[in-house]
Amino acid sequence: MTLIDTDDQRDLASSVKRFVSGQAPMAAVRKTIASEASFDPDVWRRLSQELGVAGLPIPEQYGGAGASWSDLVVALRELGSGLVPTPVLATSVLATGTLLALDDEEARATWLPRFAEGTAVGTLAVSEGARSPWAVADSTCVVEDGTVTGTKTAVLNAAEADVLLVTTASGVVLVEKGAPGLTITPADALDLTRGIATVTLERTPGRLLAGDAAAAVDAVADLANLALASEQAAATKACLDMTTEYAKIRYSFGQPIGIYQGVKHPLADIYTDWALTDAAIRKASESLAEGSETASLDAAVARHLASSGYVEAAKQTMLLHGGIGFTWEHDAHLYYRNAITGNVLLGGPAAQQDRIAQKLGV
């Protein structure tokens, strides 16, 4: 099991990094935030077409790169570090992961090529509230006469999605954009870099997909955990770097604040937690790529550590920047908003711990 990036992964990372600093730096992110859109379609199209990010986990037969999930993890690291708003989590992880884990060739053949080229956005509508973030067997969404009725919360990029995969007690239903009875209500999301919406379906036509929905969603939960963890750990590092740099140039009482142990020690703790988290993500990434039997466990561990560590790091970033870190102009709050959202999305802290315990067989 190799826990350090391959040469190819290093190349991929630097391409994405270059792209982010050139095409989606924080100034551009703020422009997107100020706009109506939840991401810049041009950025997403170019990320997909020029760098092939969207298609990394999509098999070649469907127009993707046929790379491994650990390659996508590398790309997510760079995107997460810069808080780049994209539908990568919704499309390339949740929707793609679901289609790959189910057994519906028609859906795969129709949608995966469009996902890969960045011309369609997909998402998974799974949550039914904080206590039921991965609702399948216990879903209250009902399938009847080729239609689906129910409500889904916290659906990523629902407003922009061309296709929604809706979990129900009968299985996963594919619903297309603009279908009758489909209402998408964008949330007043805390995170300014993610589009999140509530989706209600009222006898909305949809096609029940072939395959074991419960197993597919369980597999997608692993992918989501790993993907989120990768974004979060990278954003944690960005917070750490930003605060470290600030501590070197900000003077207080005649010295850079980074000389004081009151600043040094929390930063050292954040570094240490980040280093452990980064290692856990590498482990999980390899476990998933190798199909190891501890893959689910490792992914949940990575997510648990990444989510809680990021919240702490982002909070400390605000605090250690003092007043400046509390201004709208400073990026600290963008990270803190993103950190909290990532912590509670697709299963909050307790749900993550429960999943670890379940996968441990406790």
Partner: protein, 394 residues
């Protein structure tokens, strides 16, 4: 008039002129500046403003007993005096302590009467907790001084008439020794007030820019280059002001608000949620008890010293701690900012700013360690160096 009579008078006036406090209403009031001014004038006319201050400057010349009686009675009313809290809480007592006879005559009564609103302008972008590193400068000109520079985190500057502004008047002296406090007319054309948007999206503070603002010689509070002593006195008054608690129900991260939402969701069956609430209640309750202890000690003549910093630290870390707990309890609802959870999310975003206002947690910890526990003070590298030779933030 006996204290009891005074209390009765105050109660009668408040019942007539103020709305009783309602825990279920948001605390932010919503009175206009004009309404506030009128209310303050009424208070003064009723003999309820400047209770312990000398009559010659517009005060009532009464004692602490009357002040405490008023505080007690007033706690049950919502008084729209927000715009006056800073002026009467900080510049006014400082003027009484350090001001010239003329300054006191000129300003105290108008403040009490609601005619003058004041701000305090100390903080600068490059300063942070190290207030004495301020760079806004005043140079001597004919008939006074010319001020240039920038202040930040100024509350109420947009509707203030005057500011108590801390300025560097001699950069060749060590940092604490070349500072002067001025009274500045904020309506001066060289003063620009700009709202400062914070992490929550609100703009509760301002940035204030000084561009060749001329002030006369008699605008100095205290002595030239002795402004740090005046500022320290004012910050002592500030700490008293900050220490005054907000009602629990008003805090979305407090027990009362949380238990209501927990019950509405039926989460009170969940043992771990119950335990979390128990921990929140325990700490919040202990913070109240500690405030009460300090109050009773102060009344009994026991010096509080720097122990107020422990209350400040506890108050600042509490919402930061609860911020994590509510994510566990309410999960994705926090991220979706529903009607119920929006106040929570905003409080989470505001908590780091609250921890920073009035000195960071690190500064409070230093104060507790050094002044309460008696641990040695860091020697410091900047005490005796001329200010213009110090390293400063850009």
């Amino acid at each position: 008039m006996s204290t009891d009579e005074f209390r009765a008078k105050a109660l009668a006036w408040l019942q007539q002129n103020a709305k009783p406090f309602d825990d279920n209403e948001p605390s932010s009031g919503g009175a206009t500046i004009e309404e506030s001014k009128a209310f303050q004038k009424g208070l003064w006319e009723a003999g309820l403003a400047g209770i312990t201050w000398p009559k010659e400057y517009g005060g009532q010349g009464l004692g602490t007993a009357e002040q405490l009686a008023f505080n007690e009675v007033a706690a049950d009313f919502r008084m729209p005096v927000g715009p006056f809290v800073i002026g009467l809480g900080m510049p006014a007592p400082v003027l009484l302590e350090f001001g010239t006879e003329e300054q006191k005559k000129r300003h105290i009564a108008p403040m009490l009467r609601g005619d003058e609103i004041w701000s305090q302008l100390f903080s600068e972008p490059s300063g942070g907790s190290d207030v004495a590193s301020l760079q806004t400068s005043a140079v001597r000109v004919e008939d006074g001084w010319l001020i240039n520079g920038q202040k930040v985190w100024t509350s109420g500057a947009q509707f203030s008439d005057f500011g108590a502004v801390l300025v560097r008047t001699d950069p060749t002296r060590p940092k604490h020794q070349g500072i002067t406090m001025f009274i500045v007319d904020l309506h001066h054309p060289g003063v620009t007030v700009r709202p400062l948007v914070v992490a929550t999206g609100d703009a509760p503070f301002n940035e204030v820019f000084f561009d060749d603002v001329h002030v006369p010689e008699d605008a100095v509070i205290g002595e030239v280059n002795n402004g740090w002593a005046v500022a320290v006195a004012m910050l002592r008054y500030e700490r008293v002001t900050i220490g005054t608690g907000v009602r629990a129900r008003a805090n979305p991260l407090g027990y009362d608000a949380l238990v209501e939402l927990v019950r509405a969701r039926g989460l009170d069956d969940d043992p771990s949620v119950r335990r979390t609430l128990a921990q929140v209640y325990a700490r919040e309750s202990a913070m109240r008890s500690y405030s009460a202890v300090l109050h009773q000690e102060a009344k009994a003549g026991v010096p509080i010293g720097a122990r107020g910093s422990a209350a400040k630290l506890a108050g600042a870390t509490f919402p930061l701690w609860v911020s994590d707990l509510v994510q566990e309890i309410f999960g994705e609802e926090i991220a979706l900012q529903t009607r119920d959870t929006l106040p929570i999310a905003r409080s989470i975003l505001a908590a780091p700013g609250g921890a920073t206002a009035g000195g960071s947690n690190e500064i409070q910890r230093n104060i507790i360690a050094e002044r309460v526990l008696g641990l040695p003070k860091d020697a410091g590298v900047d005490k005796n160096v001329p200010f213009n030779q110090l390293k400063l933030s850009k």
